[in-house]
Symmetry: C2
Subunit: 172 residues, 2 copies
Amino acid sequence: MTGSTTMEVQQSSRGSELSELEVEAIEMFINFLKIIGLPKSVGEIYGLLFVSPRPLAMDTIIERLGISLGAASQGLKLLRNLGAVKAVYSPGDRRDHFVADLELSKFATVFIKEELMPRMDRAMGRIKRMEELLPTMSSSDRKITEARIERLRHWLDKGQKMLPWIMKFLLR
Amino acid sequence: MTGSTTMEVQQSSRGSELSELEVEAIEMFINFLKIIGLPKSVGEIYGLLFVSPRPLAMDTIIERLGISLGAASQGLKLLRNLGAVKAVYSPGDRRDHFVADLELSKFATVFIKEELMPRMDRAMGRIKRMEELLPTMSSSDRKITEARIERLRHWLDKGQKMLPWIMKFLLR
DNA sequence: CCTGCGTTTCATTTTTTCTTGAAACGAATG
DNA sequence: CATTCGTTTCAAGAAAAAATGAAACGCAGG
């Protein structure tokens, strides 16, 4: 019945062994996404989707990577929130299928916008607070600390000015 | 001579309570250094040293931060290796005393040089390996994956070119 | 409506990372 | 040189982060 064209070398989408190429991609993304604090499972998922020529359903991802249901679901959710993966509709299949968004700069820009910038803002708040607290120090020490805080502010300013520039550069 | 209005806050250099200003600085650096993957204790140490107008001995650091001997020793070692802290000689005292290097950009440049660049090099190695493996794919899928790997390489190239520029910018 | 498939949630377990403190070390001092 | 003070090391413990999988959910198809 199901005859048709022997399903070809579909091995990469239903067997369980990962091809060497897939392993390379996966390891690359594990290491890469770790930099911005994402867990291994997220790197695995994105790596697999990145080299996969066609959308994959969640249970395929689970089976091929050998990760748990929870990790897959949460990892995909996170990646979708980042905009790094999107779900595509697959006719005649109740399951969602997932594709990697190839715009890698998203990882960097999201990281900058969601992590670095808010942290820098909070740091700036603390610096202001420190400046307010300066008068509570003995005057001899105050000069020294004041200069340091000033320096801190200066450096942070520089960082804050640089980030938008980097983002612009990343977006082509 | 210390006249001024209030001389009270001398406590901050030998008692055990941290001043509010010190707390702000410490929390700031904990959060800041966490970005580049350094543990809390390291942030605490650097933060304390940063606002301290004079060099501190290790046991002072231990006492004031309430951290252990091991954490202090290892944290200071790490910070010295990064070049973010240096030991200064204090006449008539057997103990080492530590000062924060105020060149904050060091954290960023060390991170770029020691973390990002090597990772990118390794990633580039993997990309080359993937390109070698491409011929093992079925030809229909190969085109797609080939284009993606090409894209990956392009993006990584861009990143690698950007890093030296960022470093230059950070160093004034 | 019910049923069943696919997905999400979340308490628990596992793994990883950080901290602790005692023991080893070493170098200045008497 | 023996002693003492200061520092480093590292095995063990604590804390934090990530993964697991069973239960709850929700929705398409009957």
